[in-house]
Amino acid sequence: MGGDAAWRARQRAKRRRDWLIQGAGALVLLALAFLLARNVHENLGARQIKSGFDFLRDPAGFNIGELLFDYSSRDSYLRAFAVGMSNTLRVALAGIVLASVLGVGIGLLRLSRHPLVAGLCAAFVEVFRNVPLLIQLLAIYLLITELLPGSSDALSLEGFALLSKEGLQVAVPESLGPSLLAVLAAFAAGAALGYAAAKRWLEVGAGLVALAAGGAAAIVAFLLAGAVAGWSRPVLDGFLISGGASLTPEFLALWLGLSLFTAASIAEIVRAGALAVPEGQWHAALALGMTRRQAIAGAIFPQALRLAVPPLASQYMNLIKNSSLAVVIGYPDLVSIGNTSINQNGQALEVILIIMAVYLSLNLVVALVMSAVNARVTRAPR
């Protein structure tokens, strides 16, 4: 067994050498980073430019137009950044949901044998994928602000929804907290019931059925809560529309722009995934007596999903990063708040570092979630 021992010794030596080389590499990198940081610090000092993160505790002094939680100009920069981050998260999440629904739908419909449907979907993809997002955002924003009426003669849906230059306002049930809980509970119950029912009576598509059932239950619960608690309707009050829930034109434009742009790419990913499923799978599904629709839902889509999840993850990350285009249309996202902060206190390096750290963490979370999803959909077939 002498040869074996010698082999193991060589392996150990090799491992040690690898560790040494990598350790030395890491040390060099660290030293470089340290040198860079020190040089930046010294040079900023020499130019008498203030530096450091102390400013985060100072009062920010500016107001923000869209708030998910309380904030006033007397609050700290830290809180202002939190507001910016929450606005970025809000538009990114809403965008990911809408882009996914639209993208999957359009991607599958593009496979339709009906030429009008397939053609329309192809046109959608080509238009929204090939025009720069910045231009789309500016165009949508211009349409909203130019075409919609002013708040005094807003388009009204029986007083339940108002659409104007102030954005979209929707009536919500009074006592919003309990109502929201009821809606969430209804969604969970509906989804669970739908899932169980689909498992029992349907071969495929339980997830989609569960989503649809949950959504329907949530809408019913929302309307019921409104009927019971009474509606808080949007009304014009001086300049502003108060009451109800409000989506500003800036949010609407950014949300729509991001969703449409990303949906076009997602549609292509879904279509590519579906087309990459071997033709034999189609024939097999049809030979088993499935209808075309059943074949798509039961055989093609699940396999297409496997191919689509990794590129989907990068689309979601792109959407998050693209949300920084908010600044051109005045939506107060993280970058917009960062811009304002830079100009109030001049600490560009620090603010840019914060912005980079936030986007990096957000996208790492997306990567984690999506790789978990990927692990699930690529499990060996049942």
């Binding site: 040079n43 107001n63 910045l134 001086g238 390096l349 840019i352």
Partner: protein, 341 residues
Amino acid sequence: MPMRHTIPAALAVAAAAVALPAHAGKTLDAVKARGQLVCGVNTSGPGFSNADSQGKWTGLDVDFCRAVAAAVLNDASKVKFVPLNSQQRFTSLQAGEIDVLSRNSTWTLTRDASLGVVFAGINYFDGQGFMVPKKLKIDSAKKMNGATVCVQAGTTSEKNVADYFGANGMKYKPVVFDTAEAITSAFFAGRCQVYTTDMSDLAGARTKAPNADDYVILPQVISKEPLGPSVRRGDDEWFQIVRWTLYAMIDAEENGLTQANVDQQKATNKDPGVQRFLGVSEDTGKLLGLDKEWAYRIVKQVGNYGESFERNLGPNTPVKLPRGVNNLWTKGGLMYAPPIR
């Protein structure tokens, strides 16, 4: 297309910060060696700096850049104008991309003390105001409770408006854009009921309205906005040149020296003050590192402060601003320059 430039500008600062420290006192040499002054101006500020369809720059701030070039390089046309938005301006100056920032910027303590820049003087006494559509029938800033307010990112206006509404117990919703062009288009489209910025900017923006008479600028002025040129810190020679260029323009007006009469005055005026100013008797330029005719060239090639004001902002221009507090101190205004002697 208005794009975001903050991040590139910030990276430029980062790059500058990473590089070796710059030597102080070199700006004058650098400008002379280059044969050109690089001057940061506004992307679009009617009356202050505006490029026409041929790319020719005009405005009060533009004239100031030309005056510095006339004093330093003997030629007012040797200026490269770098249009900057409000977010890029100080970073650009810090990073050494421009020699002078002449871009209607408000002189405040924070900017003077913590940005690595120093203000050389005041070439326009301004204040922040409000513009509203006439049809809203708002006649006072106190009646704006609940309004949506359009404001430009990276300006002192953002903070002033928060202070003003807070102090008066009023609420408002800011919509923050990063360029003046984006604001004016959103405001004239009706997205905001109120546009707030410096009074002079409001007057300029109003000229771009589809129908200027549909909009009214409210009388309330909610802040002091002394606008002036600034330079990088740590180069005192250059700072002095920029500061005294401004003073020379003001003193020239006080002495009655204009572009039209300066040659004749130089030949005939026996006033010792005027002779000193024009470099006929003493050499004041030597003390600044310039030649003796530096101030003469400013008047000859660019004109005095009053001429520049009338040409760019006065009643005969689209902006139509009254001289007001920006008149000479001898005529009831605030423009006062230390004597050149």
